[in-house]
Amino acid sequence: MTVMPEIEIEVREGVDRETIETVNAMAGKYKYGWETEIEMEFAPKGVNEDIVRLISAKNEEPEWMLEWRLTAYQRWVEMEEPDWAMLDYPKIDYQDIYYYASPKSMEVKPKSLDEVDPKLLATYAKLGIPLQEQMLLAGVEGADEPRRVAVDAVFDSVSLGTTFQAELMKAGVIFCSISEALREHPELVRKYIGSVVPQSDNYFATLNSAVFSDGSFVYIPPGTRCPMELSTYFRINAENTGQFERTLIICDKGAYVSYLEGCTAPKRDTNQLHAAVVEIVIMEDAEVKYSTVQNWYPGDENGVGGIYNFVTKRADCRGDRAKVMWTQVETGSAITWKYPSCILRGDDSQGEFYSIAIANNAQQADTGTKMIHLGKRTKSRIVSKGISAGRAQNTYRGLVSMHPKAKESRNYTQCDSLLIGDKCGAHTVPYIEVKNNSSRVEHEATTSKVDDDQLFYCRSRGMDEEEAVALVVNGFVKDVLQTLPMEFAMEAQALVAISLEGSVG
């Protein structure tokens, strides 16, 4: 990738200058850009059937899983990389990537987190992720009732371990890495894997189906409210390595779970590929809340380095009155290609999508959702807030589809874009397909810059410019922040502040 020359951004009003300077000052301030020095074991570079076999063998998978992977690989070879997204990046050389990288110390699988290499544990401590069960998430100490979060920590291609497993098991909840699930609960995995995102769903999902190395598995039994929040933390560490994780969540009848996902990577000059798949199955009366704070390394201010994030996430509301809620805060990655979707199959099922996507410097994001209404009286709601700064391009792409049988269904979509500076772009590409008349679909989108009247009002009340911008931007994303679980909301708010406002916030 070539280094972009510094572009002078034309500014007409003082407040823009302030904001742009703050934004520029932020470049290079990625907090999680350090690297853990540790001895790694790599599979040979590139992807082929042998690599697929190797990954399957490493995870000690049953034969059917290998067959499944190989079928996916054969499909993938025949597929073409999609180019419809408003993303511009050099061609990815899929043979120049390591598909499997695992710390040497993980060769013999540790029985518990206590046996894990302290260097690895230190990595998570430094990231602020509590892997000791007595530890609490930062920011909630002193709360009346301490809230606990179970964590599955994924480091490059392997899961290091999962906390609170025993306690969760008491409630019947299975929370482990997908490789462990394939060993311990193969029947459950076999029943559901690929049932929401089929093997050859799209180019990146198909590649993932062939080479996914680890990820998380969750099963919540009928009528169970998961006693604590579950969380997976993804860390890419090794160079030239792709991360391909697969998450499978099954929420049985009447159950509830809130699941959090976080991700970071070291600062590097080369781009790294991340192609994940998340499948969620939701039965009758069950509810899943899935929150993501995506903070992969975004590349530097000239667009050098950063993660290419191509992710397929889909929830299938199979039963009546099932409910899913996606919340995402997308601040990282050089390229984001991500459309968490809801299949509203059960009658009266509900899907919600709340998104904040911030693209700064040379970042490009093409993200949105799909709401497929199949059942009667299904409801969906989309609130998307996109912020573009620097030379970034930020696209909302979404589909709302009302099938002929989805009588009396309802959708409300709101997509707002905010532009900071005159070198960036904000785009909206919604698809609306309505095939019955008892359903109502409403779509609204606006694009504007930080509102002068609002700023003036804040300034006239004695705020300085930075405070005023911070307040306006926070107001802009508030609807989405409110839907996050508390710990994440705090992290996300800090992240929004850091991505755009520097010291302000």
Binding site: R12, I432, R440, H443, A445
Partner: protein, 427 residues
């Protein structure tokens, strides 16, 4: 590859049945259009731009037979206008008025094209060619390449009367291809009325170049035939402080694709494109609009309303592209569908692509049935069911009709709509 081959094969088949005039002043433009066509072929079902509309009927070598209406009810009769009549795509001099009008130069493409020099040389095919990026519009290039007839209109002052392009269809198998060029010179002002159906199948292109301070009003009721297959393109280029307002009324029609491609090249200009479409049964109607803002402080509005019943399909693809530097752009887009029963479909892709920060752009899209509460209210006030429904449908369409500035013309459109409603009530 196979896809492109199929598209080029479709083109070869289509061109086989057509003869292209050699062209005088238009010769180079026609050759360039053929070259573009050879590159892109005719559209296929898998083209993103044809996602919701199957181009098969437009690609077909011959049109589907379309019954001719015994009487195409005249419209705008009370208006003093200069009428120019085309029957099945052929100019009907006997039925037309004398072309002479103060401040306006009108010629027929077929006659003017005998000359090598003509003012339209700079316009014919130019806006169409520019409109091919970023999205290909093969039917417009096809039109440029092979159109035999059309009007070349140049207006230098305020036109005393509207020009009325009146289409008539007498043959149930006619395949009309017409290409109009309109040049509105600085400060000039013209109203163009386009009425009726030019053939069983028609392909009409209008290129409008509006110079600084010029005004062009365009009102187009597209005729009532159920069998018609129609593809139209308006390419408009707006210079500083100019204005373009276009309103289309579509009633019935097996397949209609109306494209409008508008580009602002001068500051402080305004463009409004509006459409009201009503369809019952075998009706596929597609409004595709692409507006490019490449100047300061321009205003664009897109207002599209569709009333659908008995399996009618309404499509809207609208895009506002604001280029870098097009500051203070005001872009607005609304697309709405009222579905009178459960069999109809509304498919929309309202897009924004914005590269300038100091802009206000918004779009809205809704679809649904008639508001039960409003219906109940009207009925509780003693309004009969049918009247109440008609009132609400007309109210729904009002925002689009409001885009017509001339109140007499708007009134005629409204009357036409009421007439349609009265004939299409009940199942």
């Amino acid at each position: 590859m196979a896809q492109l081959q199929a598209k080029q094969d479709a083109l070869t088949a289509r061109l086989a049945g057509l003869t292209a005039p050699k062209g005088g002043f238009s010769h180079d433009a026609r050759q360039a259009a053929f070259a573009r066509l050879a590159q892109m072929g005719l559209p296929g079902r898998r083209d993103e731009y044809w996602r919701y509309t199957d181009p098969a009927m437009l690609n077909a070598v011959a049109p589907l037979e379309a019954d001719t209406l015994r009487v195409e009810v005249p419209i705008f009769e009370g208006k003093d206008k200069l009428r120019l009549v085309f029957e099945d795509g052929v100019f009907d001099a006997a039925a037309s008025d004398d072309m002479a009008m103060a401040g306006i130069e009108i010629s027929l493409l077929s006659q003017a094209d005998a000359q090598d020099l003509h003012w339209a040389k700079a316009l014919y095919g130019t806006l169409e060619a520019a409109g091919q990026t970023p999205v290909a519009r093969p039917f417009a290039s096809l039109n440029t390449a092979v159109a035999h007839e059309g009007l070349l209109i140049r207006v230098t002052g305020k036109a005393p009367r509207p020009i009325h392009i009146s289409y008539r269809q007498k043959s149930s198998t006619s395949d009309a291809i017409l290409h109009h060029c309109i040049k509105v010179e600085a400060g000039a002002d013209l109203t163009v009325l386009e009425t009726g159906i030019s053939g069983a199948r028609s392909n009409v292109v209008m290129e409008a170049d509006i110079a600084a301070g010029g005004k062009l009003h365009h009102i187009r009721p597209q005729g009532r035939s159920h069998g018609k297959q129609l593809v139209t393109h308006i390419f408009a280029r707006l210079a500083a402080e100019s204005l373009f307002k276009s309103f289309t009324l579509s009633m019935n029609g097996r397949m209609t694709r109306n494209e409008a491609v508008i580009e602002f090249t001068g500051d402080d200009a305004q463009a409004h494109v509006a459409g009201a479409a009503v369809g019952d049964g075998a009706f596929h109607h597609d409004d595709t609009v692409f507006i490019t803002h490449d100047a300061l402080r321009c205003e664009s509005r897109q207002v599209f309303k569709k009333v659908l019943k008995n399996g009618a399909v309404g499509v809207f693809q609208g895009k506002i592209l604001v280029k870098a530097g097009a500051q203070k752009t005001d872009g607005y887009q609304i697309s709405q569908a009222l579905m009178l029963d459960d069999d109809s479909q509304f498919l929309a892709k309202p897009e924004l692509e914005i590269y300038a920060d100091d802009v206000v752009c918004s779009h809205g899209s809704t679809s649904g049935a008639i508001d039960e509460a409003a219906l109940f209210y009207l009925r509780s006030r003693g309004v009969p069911m049918r009247t109440a429904q008609s009132l609400l449908v007309l109210a729904f369409l009002a925002e689009a009709i409001a885009e017509i500035e001339d109140q007499d013309l708007a009134e005629d459109i409204r009357a036409r709509m009421e007439d349609w409603l009265s004939r299409h009530q009940g199942k």
